[in-house]
């Protein structure tokens, strides 16, 4: 082995870059330095865990909060910056203060540190049995097409309250016509029509028996007075362009509210434009030179909104005759034998570089032979609309015959067209060799 060569040195150097990715595995509490720097910027001089019972159910989780206070008493949440540790990691894990139980009963000490300041508390993990649930809501009503949050008060066979896994549902089909829970594990209700809905929360006790809350009746108020649809881009869209539509509702009281996800967005013609009814993302799929009209519609509790849009096909820069395969490959000439035919195509290039060249599919194209004599016009023909060239088998040729074919785009979208955006006529010629 002879250790020579720049290549080997460079190879090992490259290896060094790869190895650099293993940073952070070394010793030293690097988080503490970052926290101390952070403390120097936010002025925190003391930290404390937010008050809590210290009891967590083995099926649940709990969000702890570390609050930092500066010399003026201003509080800052330090959950993401702090270092959280558990005395017994078998009982659960914690990240940014969110403790998730592993399912085991026990007691542990939670310690959280920030810039060398620490706080700790005991945490008891219990398997208390669920015996009752009560659904609660802040006001008992919500404006139609808004989302609203419920809370559940759980009752266990001990005096504590726990975060406990529950599912949320609407009791009957009449309620489900008016609203829905997008995620049944989350207490957020999306509403779309006014009326009264019946909501329940369910959970399983330690024996697997389903405990259901009493029905909670929420009023969805018919308080919408107007609905407006807007786009973050021009309503004249180019084919392939995307934009985001927003549905904003005006209510009898309170501020205007964006309700896009609850406004049942729809496109009047999905071949022209599609819309994601949740995000409001609209996509101009296919348009025309003069623009294809399409309506984006929204509705909330029978209050409609319409946003007229127009999708344009991009402007043609120039055109070129290519062979019948439509492979878009430029060619100097075409060839066809006696008794055969050839169907050349037109390739168009667009002004906008975002649109790739393609075979032209417009109808108003005029094809012809440039020569008006010197060949048998009955046995060599060209279709003026499609460009199909047919050579009759009865044609007698002893040598190649070369003719010139011209194609011209005469109208685009029904409008007479003379020139492309490059200033030249939208026409092209090509030699066609007819072989015996």
């Amino acid at each position: 082995m002879h250790f020579k060569g720049t290549a080997l040195a460079l190879l090992l150097g490259a290896g060094a870059f790869g190895l650099s990715g293993c940073g952070g595995g070394g010793s030293g509490d690097s988080a503490r330095v970052a926290q101390t720097v952070d403390a120097s910027k936010n002025g925190v001089i003391s930290v404390a865990l937010d008050d809590n019972e210290g009891y967590i159910h083995v099926k649940g989780n709990f969000q702890f909060n570390l609050i930092g206070t500066d010399k003026d008493g201003k509080a800052t949440n330090l959950n993401e910056q702090a270092s959280w540790t558990l005395s017994d990691p078998r009982l659960g894990n914690i990240k940014n203060g969110l403790f998730t139980a592993s399912g085991q009963v026990g007691t542990l000490t939670l310690t959280v540190s920030y810039a060398g300041l620490t706080d700790s508390q005991n945490v008891v993990l219990t398997d208390a049995n669920l015996i009752g649930i009560t659904v609660e809501h802040a006001s008992g009503s919500v404006d139609v097409c808004k989302n609203t949050q419920f809370t559940a008060k759980t009752v266990f066979n001990d005096p504590h309250h726990y975060n406990y896994p529950l599912t949320w549902s609407l009791v009957d089909s009449a309620s489900r016509d008016l609203a829905s829970f997008a995620d049944e594990t989350k207490p957020e209700l999306s509403t779309k029509k006014s009326g009264a809905v019946k909501v329940v929360a369910k959970g399983k006790d330690n024996d697997g028996k389903v405990i259901t809350s009493p029905e909670y009746i929420l009023d969805i108020d018919p308080s919408i007075v107007a609905l407006v649809l807007t786009s973050d881009k021009s309503t004249d869209m180019n084919q392939g362009q995307t934009a985001t539509a927003t549905a904003t509702a005006e209510y009898r009281s309170g501020p205007n509210t964006v309700i896009t996800a609850n406004a049942a967005l729809r496109s009047s013609n999905e071949t022209v434009m599609t819309v994601n009814s949740t995000t409001g993302l609209i996509n101009a799929v296919a348009g025309t030179r003069l623009g294809t009209e399409v309506n984006l519609t929204a509705i909330c509790d029978e209050t409609p909104a319409v946003l007229p849009l127009k999708v344009f096909k991009p402007e043609i820069r120039n055109m070129e005759i290519v062979d019948e395969t439509g492979a878009l490959t430029s060619t100097e000439s075409l060839q066809v034998r006696v008794g055969a035919d050839i169907d050349p195509r037109i390739k168009v290039n667009y002004v906008d570089s975002g649109f790739d060249p393609e075979v032209y599919t417009g109808k108003d194209v005029a094809w012809k032979f440039v020569e008006t004599s010197g060949y048998d016009q009955e046995k060599i023909t060209i279709d003026g609309a499609s460009g199909l060239i047919e050579v009759d088998a009865s044609l007698i040729l002893t040598v190649n015959l070369i003719l010139t074919v011209e194609a011209r785009i005469t109208k685009i979208g029904g409008i007479d067209t003379e020139v492309g955006s490059d200033g030249n006529e939208l026409k092209d010629t090509i030699k066609v060799t007819i072989k015996p």
């Binding site: 650099s20 293993c22 595995g25 403390a39 001089i45």
Partner: protein, 188 residues
Amino acid sequence: MCKRLALVISAMGGIVSVGAQAAEENSLAFHASGQAVYTQIKASGEEFSPPLFQLKADIEFTSGNMDGLGLQGLVTVPMSDDEANGLTLEVTQQSGIYVTLTNPDTQPEDLRVSVLLGYASTEIETLLPSLGEEAKHKDTYSDFSWGFSLQDQIVDGKPFYWTLDFLRYYKSDDLRIDGLGLGVTYAF
């Protein structure tokens, strides 16, 4: 601890062992350097640059099977601390050991480029008086380290070289320690 780091350390040990055996049949060159180091320590979006003075010594094979392979050790002493937002940060100690890889075809008058792979340890002291009793902390950060070194002869025929180094001493999600050194090397 990163498994790849363990491999590097093992490899360094192996190279030293092989090198000792090979020393009898290969020529060796010794270098000593002194250089000022601009250190950049980045944490929580803030950068500190406490200047350091670094002493380095290396031994390198100049012929035979191990030509171009060397071993370098460095120690650093603080020249000053740096301060931002009332936080004073000082590198109180730094040391490292590296395998150096140099193109063996490099002549004394050529620009000499070396790759350094090794292990470094940096002790950082922070002082933030507003934290009261917890104001002062000292922690040592050790991990795989890598870098590059450029050397060029100052005067033809003389064994003195300008040296320009870049070394990454430590990197984690919370902290990054880099150093850019400029100094003079003497070749024995």
